[in-house]
């Protein structure tokens, strides 16, 4: 895969329940929305109604938290069937989930746990991503997670692991800049190295979020503004990767929508300061791929 297989969506915001009404009624100026897939994998009711209304006006991306691609359990076929059904319904620009495991033995921890960074696990995870991609009939993106523990058995760095999995699975990367910062602090590596090492052509999306400081460790809580150090890393990523869609996540102590929109605006400003004025307009891709970026997901 290459990045130009995916559209450049610009600068978006994670769609969260407190903002449903505002988004539907006021159609705020953001380029796109990311939805948590599992919140919409329901039989009916308001979530699906909201999704229909939002996707009429904005490009949508589906971001999952329970694929458990790194689990030792067999892939959950029912989950994947429901995910595909939702994708058929909301026609996302792409689908993403995390490079992690979320449960084992048929149980779900509802958390994103890291994996041992070994060749054996690369093979295991990459084979599963390939099966998922076959089933969904599309390339997916995998996201680096924040982590608080590492394994003695790891034989490579996190970025080497991410790169190896993405290369072997031939999938895209959702690079969470805040997660890099959090994990760098928690494990004592240099965040910039991570940005410099991941394969540029596979990076399709960024996540930007805030975290909380617990002294001995940082926690990826998505309940604070994006820290200045994370913005600096983002700028470094923009310099290296070019036209990559960016998204602001906020999941706890969620402020008014305007705060999220302003944060997305700051991401755009940084992008344009690096790439040139107007480069961050939705639909304008990189210098390399200026042909129409996204025909199927235009704005109404």
């Amino acid at each position: 895969m290459k990045r130009s297989d995916f559209p450049f969506l610009g600068f978006g915001v994670g769609l969260r329940r407190p903002h449903y009404g505002h988004v539907i009624e006021n159609h705020p100026r953001v380029d796109w929305f990311e939805v948590i897939s599992e919140n919409f994998m329901v039989p009916g009711g308001r979530p699906l109604e909201v999704l229909e209304a939002v996707r009429e006006r904005y490009p949508i991306v589906m971001h999952g938290v329970s694929m458990s691609i790194g689990s030792a359990d067999p892939l959950d076929r029912n989950y994947l069937r429901d995910l595909k059904a939702l994708a058929r319904r909301c026609k996302p620009a792409w689908i993403s989930d995390h490079l992690c495991w979320t449960g084992v033995g048929g149980r779900n921890l509802h958390d994103l746990l890291p994996l041992p960074y070994t060749r054996e696990v690369v093979d295991h995870v990459a084979a599963r991503i390939r099966r998922v991609q076959d089933l969904l009939e599309r390339r997916i993106l995998i996201e680096n997670v924040s982590s608080y523990l590492g394994f003695v058995s790891s034989t490579m760095t996190e970025w080497e692991f991410l790169t190896a999995v993405a290369d072997e699975a031939d999938c895209g990367i959702l690079l969470d800049i805040n997660n890099i910062f959090v994990s760098a602090f928690n494990h004592g590596f240099e965040a910039g190295k991570y940005i410099d090492a991941v394969p540029a052509e596979r990076v399709v999306q960024y996540h930007l979020a805030g975290h909380s400081d617990h002294g001995a460790y940082l926690l990826d809580t998505h309940d604070h503004p994006v820290r200045d150090e994370v913005w600096t890393l983002y700028e470094r990523a923009v310099r290296r990767f070019g036209a990559v869609s960016a998204l602001v996540e906020w999941d706890d102590h969620i402020p008014e929508f305007g705060v999220l929109a302003e944060t997305a605006g700051r991401a755009r400003s940084i992008y344009e300061s690096v790439r040139g004025a107007g480069a961050g307009r939705y639909g304008v891709s990189s210098e390399r791929d200026r042909e129409p970026a996204l025909q199927a997901h235009h704005r109404a």
Binding site: G44, L109, D111, V152, S153, L219
Partner: protein, 278 residues
């Protein structure tokens, strides 16, 4: 790899979900190698291996506690913070989440409360949790167009007796031992709730325009709606309402109940029949 992936993930799962914390969970791991957790999870001067696992254990519990508080605000309010915390600890050990969405985390809480010692302090608590869970279920229940009054009126009156009306999929009828609807209402209004009457009650939960409502109904309405659910003809439903009219005009009673069902969206439009293949 020194430890197979399944072994590592299973160990971490057990430690993260250990009801009394990672340290106590580790004591139960009799088959752990001599190096202990430190041979699997890397610890350092800042945080030991167990402390690192503990971060996940805390997140697991508190995330799910928040989910359950949100889904069961009245149950939590009645029990108080400490009791609810302890309830959730025991509940998660008995019913650990298995579904991809947190929406299902609380689906067994009412059943779990049926035999829980907290019932001694609040004997109605399982009924209250059942009602709160029904609100969540109905919120996400399948969509269907509601039958509107105008559509009903458009049907020729002579066809009404044989009509097989169907109830909307986004509804539930609960038969309860306690009149807990009043407790939920009080908590929603920020008022102090009293112990409800220990009387059989029926509560109808339904969704209209994406919002979920509930109200107590009487035995006649409950039986009539249940009869509709089983596919009975409207005539049979009318007979039941008429028999329960208790001196009131049966026609007025039938009209009153039907009007309410139509305005609340309790009835669904008939499913469209597929044209037979030629």
């Amino acid at each position: 790899m020194a430890f197979p992936l399944k072994e590592i993930e299973s160990l971490l799962y057990r430690l993260i979900t250990a009801p009394n914390g990672v340290a106590e969970g580790l004591l139960a791991e009799r088959n752990l190698s001599p190096g202990g957790l430190g041979a699997i999870v890397r610890g350092d001067a800042r945080l030991s291996a167990a402390e690192r696992v503990d971060i996940y254990a805390n997140m697991y519990f508190y995330r799910l506690l928040e989910v359950l508080k949100e889904d069961f605000p009245a149950t939590a309010a009645v029990l108080g913070a400490d009791n609810f915390h302890n309830l959730v600890t025991g509940y998660l050990a008995e019913y650990p989440p298995t579904e991809p969405s947190v929406m299902y985390v609380g689906c067994h809480l009412a059943a779990y409360l049926r035999d829980h010692p907290l019932r001694n302090a609040a004997p109605y608590i399982a009924d209250l949790a059942r009602l709160e869970r029904a609100l969540v279920d109905v919120f996400h229940a399948p969509d269907a167009p509601a039958l509107e009054a105008g559509q009903m009126r458009a049907i020729s009156p002579e066809d009404w007796p044989a009509l097989r009306l169907r109830t909307h999929p986004a509804h539930a009828i609960l038969d309860l031992e306690w009149r807990v609807a009043a407790v939920l209402e009080a908590v929603e209004q920020g008022k102090e709730s009293n112990e409800p009457a220990h009387e059989t009650s029926w509560v109808l939960v339904w969704r209209r325009n994406s919002r979920v409502f509930y109200r107590e109904i009487d035995a006649v309405e409950s039986a009539a709606l249940e009869r509709l659910e089983t596919g009975a003809a409207f005539r049979q439903v009318c007979d039941l309402i008429a028999a329960g009219a208790a001196g009131a005009d049966p026609v007025i009673e039938i009209n009153r109940r039907l009007e309410r069902w139509l305005s609340d969206g309790i009835l669904a439009q008939p499913a469209r029949r597929r044209a037979p293949r030629k």
